[in-house]
């Protein structure tokens, strides 16, 4: 599988189609993001399966935004899984990336990873390695929905109360690019106070994930307190889909329902 990826990246780099390829590398004894610029030096390129499938995934889209901001005229390649592909579509829609300057190299996830992520579409539109596997329903959401309102509220408050306000969920999120973050606005979240006000902090973030969250699960993986954030954002996405028939990353340039609601209505 990795050979097919390396082959594609080698072609992209040697032909000059991309200035660099943002992927993952085994270096210093660990796996992390790396910009490959030399077509001959791809031995360290890996896809993020360290001890288990997908356990060394990173927010490559976010690093791509950093590079693209400074070098908007250069083309870069990026390693994408199904979630990253959704992410790219949303980032193009929000003007954070230019589709003409990005060449995604896709890989399809294994069934094991798709099950663990409860991913509805564990493969990008185009991929060079891996095989399409079945998408999964949100069993974790269903389990919570089975409880009554009081039970659900208690369950969530118990989870949120573990929060140490590290802002990891916000910092790792590939969709979080706001220059002024609501979670740092003193009127909503008091600066310098730990723990954060429960559940204001988490519900504020959840509302901001409407029309934005592409279900990559990195927030879940980065939380030092193991709060099941992904389940919360999956539920938010379900609600939005039910009401507005919209899921982020499904359709390129489809606007988020919040975007439409904010515009003044012509009918008054």
């Amino acid at each position: 599988m990795i050979e097919k990826v390396r082959e594609r990246v080698r072609d992209l780099l040697s032909s000059g189609e991309v200035k660099g390829f943002l992927g993952l590398s085994n270096k210093y004894g660990n796996t992390g993001p790396h910009l490959f610029c030399d077509a001959e030096d791809l031995d360290g390129l890996v896809i993020g399966d360290w001890k288990g499938p997908g356990d060394a995934r990173y927010t490559l889209n976010k690093q791509l935004i950093h590079i693209a901001r400074k070098y908007p005229d250069d083309v870069f390649g990026v390693l994408v899984r199904g979630c990253d592909d959704r992410g790219l579509k949303v980032l193009y829609t929000w003007n954070q990336l230019n589709p003409e300057k990005v060449v995604p190299v896709g890989i399809a996830c294994s069934q094991e990873l798709a099950d663990a992520c409860e991913c509805r579409k564990p493969y990008p539109d185009d991929f060079v390695a891996g095989e399409k596997v079945e998408g999964r329903a949100f069993a974790s959401v269903a389990r919570l929905d089975a409880l009554d309102v009081a039970g659900r509220f208690e369950a969530w408050l118990k989870e949120f109360s573990k929060c140490i306000k590290c802002y990891g969920c916000r910092d790792v999120c590939p969709m979080c690019f706001c220059k002024e973050c609501t979670l740092e606005d003193d009127r909503l979240v008091k600066n310098g106070v730990i723990p954060p006000e429960i559940p204001v902090f988490h519900l504020t973030r959840a509302v901001h994930m409407v029309g934005r969250c592409i279900d990559c699960g990195l927030c879940n993986e980065v939380c030092p307190a193991d709060i099941p954030l992904r389940t919360l954002y999956k539920k938010v996405a379900d609600i939005v889909d039910e009401e507005f028939q919209y899921r982020p990353g499904q359709e390129l340039y489809a606007k988020s329902p919040l975007n439409i609601l904010m515009q003044p209505s012509s009918t008054g």
Partner: protein, 135 residues
């Protein structure tokens, strides 16, 4: 264009969480926790997440400063060390060794902490040595 991701250890406390510093053209722009490192397994506290902000901050101390006539002025290392030594000696002679206390740091190495407590106990002669993590 020079883009690098450099694996390094957090300086803030004794945990030793590892992350990649994202460096673009010599500017440290972001921190990415290392998911495969056994200490932090891809997670960081708020201090670790913001390490990149202070690294190249213009507010960082680059030279020793001595307060002269109420104003902090630049000094050489020799001047600063002479000032400190003569000051500590004077206080020790006038008020005894127990009038001096030492505060060391979780951000320095174990060896540096050992050195300071040795200085406090053997050179100055006080037991009053503590550490910012205990506060």
């Amino acid at each position: 264009m020079d883009y690098r991701t450099v694996l390094t250890t957090c300086t803030y406390c004794g945990c030793g969480c590892n992350f990649y510093l994202e460096v673009l053209d010599g500017q440290v722009i972001d921190t990415i926790p290392c998911k495969t490192h056994p200490v932090n397994e891809g997670k960081l506290c708020i201090k670790g997440w913001n390490v990149h902000e202070f690294l190249q901050s213009p507010k960082r101390l680059t030279r020793p400063l001595i307060r002269r006539d109420g104003v902090l002025t630049e000094a050489t290392w020799d001047e600063a060390l002479d000032y400190t030594v003569s000051g500590l000696k004077a206080i020790k002679d006038a008020h005894g060794s127990d009038s001096i206390a030492f505060l060391t740091s979780a951000k320095v190495t174990n060896e540096e902490n050992y050195l300071l407590q040795k200085f406090a106990r053997a050179a100055v002669g006080t037991n009053s040595v503590d550490h910012c993590a205990r506060l």
